[in-house]
Symmetry: C7
Subunit: 237 residues, 7 copies
């Protein structure tokens, strides 16, 4: 085929297929995810651990406001890579979903249910006209019915469950690292160490202060302080 010129004919509308059955706008949104700084998720025997690169351009920017990891409802967490504003909108959707379910059924929804609700919103953005896809990849984590679960949702609206994975910049490198190093039956501390090591497999010179970490276990969502991270890195924040 004529390559670029051919592709350009099909990639400017979210609601059309290319002759080879691809949705280019969804693939370009994946590129936006790959451009975002990396986020790692790891399941352990008792918890899910998130570690995110939050390195910033300026020392005057308050790092806490770089929202890579969100506490959905005290139990579940969402970590993201890609378009920050799009991630915020999906997190809002997740929060509304959790509240509504809790009111309706007296019980908050689990990781899988919540991840699939987000995926439904994302799928609709890829099929209905008048809207672009979401340029963000999310990790949804938490402990549901005693079991630590970690889901990813991508810009096509496909949910998938992982023992450990990464989204964003150098995601392939980090996933390779995880495939080699991951073992079942880790405790939270081991999981945290693995997540941090994996994150540094992609960006070796990250400092403790440039990393956001959170754990979700039976007691709920908790952020991990910089000193703990620095302890793992063998240095100050």
């Amino acid at each position: 085929m004529q390559g670029d010129s051919d592709r350009r004919s099909y990639d400017r509308g979210t609601s059309i297929f290319s002759p080879d059955g691809r949705l280019y706008q969804v693939e370009y949104a994946r590129e936006a995810v790959r451009k975002g700084s990396a986020t790692v998720g790891v399941t352990t025997a008792e918890s899910v651990v998130f570690a995110s690169d939050t390195s910033t351009r300026s020392p005057l920017l308050e790092r806490d406001s770089v929202e890579k990891i969100h506490d959905v409802d005290g139990r579940l967490g969402i970590a993201s890579a890609g378009h920050v504003a799009d991630a915020r909108r999906l997190v809002d959707e997740a929060r509304r979903f959790a509240q509504t379910e809790r009111l309706r059924y007296g019980d908050a929804p689990g990781v899988e249910t919540t991840a699939k609700a987000i995926a439904d919103v994302v799928q609709e953005s890829t099929q209905t006209g008048g809207m672009r896809p979401f340029g963000v990849g999310l990790l949804v984590g938490g402990v549901t019915d005693g079991e630590p679960r970690l889901y990813e949702t991508d810009p096509s609206g496909t949910p998938s469950a992982w023992r450990a994975t990464a989204v964003g910049s150098d995601g392939d490198v980090i996933r390779d690292y995880l495939e080699t190093e991951y073992t079942d039956g880790l405790d939270t501390a081991d999981g945290l160490a693995l997540a941090l090591d994996a994150l540094r497999a992609g960006a070796a010179d990250l400092t403790a202060a440039e990393v956001a970490v959170a754990t979700m276990d039976a007691d709920g969502f908790r952020t991990v302080d910089t000193d703990t991270v620095a302890g793992h890195f063998g240095g100050a924040s």
Copy 2:
């Protein structure tokens, strides 16, 4: 005619015909189905059997979360090939339809009724503006009024009933195999063996762990465990 340049004039809007009466967007959506990993459906004297290729890129991905076969309501199953997120949306439609019908008529809808309800949703996506077609082929199976039924719905919204068929990658090869090997009056175990053999006719090196299998009989929808599959493959998962 001028070939490509001519075709390009008619294939970027879901709601128009080409001069030879074709709907190109529907044909491109069929291409998305052909790109998906394969799913086989076989009817037996007492059941319907689904077998799907769920091989994945990464050992850390939880294979159960690769949703190729869905339990609609404890009785009916839906297996898919193509765009995963689109399949999820249509399965949601099927579940809502089954619930509504049950509430309205006190009885859950059968295979044919459900497949046609899905097909109606798909047809509308091909005629009304502002929406692309669904890039997914579905198999809908179950036992209705004592009779095992297997329906396919394609991206044009056409429903059709089969004794055995396949959707997705290498579908032609698998269907050829089925046409040669299928016989009436199989029991569920025979049907399962045929479905697995047919699936391997398309992808010879699939392992038992890379295949999802489910049966729908008078007792309802049931998934088949990996050991049973491995037994058929003559090896471990």
Copy 3:
């Protein structure tokens, strides 16, 4: 004129006329009808007979599920050629119309009323933006007030009544045959024979099993079994 390049300027929107007063999208939808396998309709002194080519690609496909002839409400029948999914949608419209009329007036609508209601839906699809025309030609038949009536609706939304006609592939050949062979005052058996002969005038090697036949008389809609067809063909199904 400049031929193709000129035509291309006016054929990509349903809601515009070409300089010579044509609606190209409607003409392309007619092409979709001509691509469909043929359906014949014949009126007799006491009934309407439909005969449709339902030959399929695969022996595993259940021929009954190839919907060429639909029972609307036990009295009227609709046979189609062209885009199967579009036909199903119009048949649904006809069923809804028949139910509504029956509830409102205590009496089900006749052939002419029903055909015109379908034609209205089709006309609207050709004038209002945001929708393509229906790529299907329909025959609507039945006995109303003691009189057998046969209507055709085409993609422009024009209804017309016939003593005998055909839609779909080789329609011209079949209509020529009917114009030569048709006579008034046939009984149902004669009408059935004529319809089958006409259908084979277009596709000589059709077997009895590849043909769907139905009759609509004062007692209502009835499908004709394969043995009866085979008897006419002088051979087994």
Copy 4:
């Protein structure tokens, strides 16, 4: 100017003017009218007479179903040339209008009021986006307050009253004939003769069976049978 290429810039949207103040889509819709078979309308001292060419391609087509002349409400008639399906939609509008007016004011609307109501619907189709014009010219006739009135509505939505006129194929030839032969004070039989002669001025070889005729006088709308027409033609139907 650059002729064709210039025109093509302004003729593909109903809602825009060309630099010389023309609405091309309306002019193309007029072309669709000119392509339709002819219809003649003549006013007499006591009635309005319609005569329409209903010649058809096939002897199996039931001529009565070729709808060129419509009985609106037992009093008024509408005859058309052009796009048959569009004419049906406007006749439906006229029927709804007549019913509503009768319910509201206890009295059915006259010819002028009805013709103007149709013209309003047509005008809107030429100004508001998302809809093509109606490709049909209508004659509206009847006796209102003792006076026979004949109105034409064209694709621009302009109503005009005539003593005698024609729409459709060879309309110019027929109007020329009428301008020469028309005289005031005709009775219905004279008017019928004039209408038939005028119609044959455009298509000399029409037979009585190929012509539909209706009269509207103080007693209401009435179709004229083929024998009466044949009597005028000096031959059998």
Copy 5:
């Protein structure tokens, strides 16, 4: 600039400006007005006089149905040049407006108020998408609070008051004539004479029967019969 090619970039949408701040669609609609047959309006000390060219193509067309001058509500009149169907729609707007105001305030609206209400409708058609401008120029006349007033509304939606003016074909020639010949303090007969002379300044061979004339004074709207016009022309109708 590049002339035509440059202009073509900005003249196909009603809702955009050209780089030099022009709205081309409005200017093209003005061209449609200039193509219409002429209408003259003259104010006198006691009345407003309209005179319109209603010459027609065919002697069978009933001249009264060529609507150039409309009686709005027994008091006000509207005369038009340009697209007849568009004029009818704006006259309908004016009638609705007059009725609503009368119901709301117990008093019918004056010339200025009515002209401005029409102008508001016209302006909206030039700014909001999905609609073309109105291709018509209107004169609105009548006596309000004892004062004869004459307003013009153009396709941009600008209202302006005149002592005497003309819209339509040869409007410039007629306005020049009026500027030379108009004097204050005319009575109705003088005004009528001036209007007719001005109209013939544009089209010298108009006969009395080809002119529609109306006056609006303290007693309301009145049409002037052909004999009176013929008397002025010094000849029969």
Copy 6:
């Protein structure tokens, strides 16, 4: 850059930015303002004065109907340059706003509040699709809480307050004149003289009859008669 061809890519939709962050449609609307005849606004110690060029093409046009200066509600005035019909629409918005506020709060809104309400309407026209910007610049003046205030609103929807300014043709020349000649503490007569002199700095041969003048002080909105203007010009009207 490639100049014209580059610009043309971004200037045909109101809702998009050019690569250098400009909104071309807004800039073209500003050009429409610059094409309009000039209007001057001057604040004095006790009042705001408007003076507008209302010279017209024809002596038969009633100058009062050339609406350059509008009385909003007896207190505030709005003067405009540019597209007259657009100005009328915004003045209507201002009147509606003033009425609503008065009903809601028992007090009419001041100059600043009213100017900002207009600016909000204008801003929305520049951001939301389906509408072009307003091609008009407005001056809003009056005395609020004892203080004379003069606001300008431009086609971008930006409000700004001035001691003295001008919009429309030769606005730059007039503003230069005002910057040189304006002093604080003028009384109304001085302000009127300054406004007229400034207006003639742009168009030297304006006669008194070709200028509309109004003042807004503690007693409200008042138009100034031609004799007063002529007195200033040292000549008759």
Copy 7:
């Protein structure tokens, strides 16, 4: 790639991604921000300080009406750079949000909550069709729960918190200055001095009268008068 021509294919719709995952319209809106005059925000131990360049083209323009700093609700302030009219719309959104929250929860929302509500509105403008992004960067400041907070929202809808930052023209230069000179624990007077120095790092010849300054502390929002600024600049206003 082909550079400009390639980019032009993806930058004219807000709702599509480019192949490298960028949203060009958002980047162009950022360019509109960079074109606006600068605004600085600084947090101190007890307050937030805003300083904005309000230098204007004309001495007759009332500088106070150049709205760079807005008092949201007596507590929070918003400073902006870029498209003034867009900033006003977002400030209106913030005011409405603050009122609604206060009514609903009895307590006004803090800086972070308000900044995120604005960011949500901005994000939606970048994803939903029919609207362009907001061409404005905002600083939101105030003291919430005793803590001074300063948020920025950019045209992508991303909120971020800063100890000190700048938006608009020469923003990089100013931020560099702030990174060098900022220290924790400043009091309001120190913060004010830093903000003014930073602003002059970008535009050295600003006079005190050309700068707007405001502080937000525990007592609420307060503007700083020109004399105070002049005192810092070591000269008169």
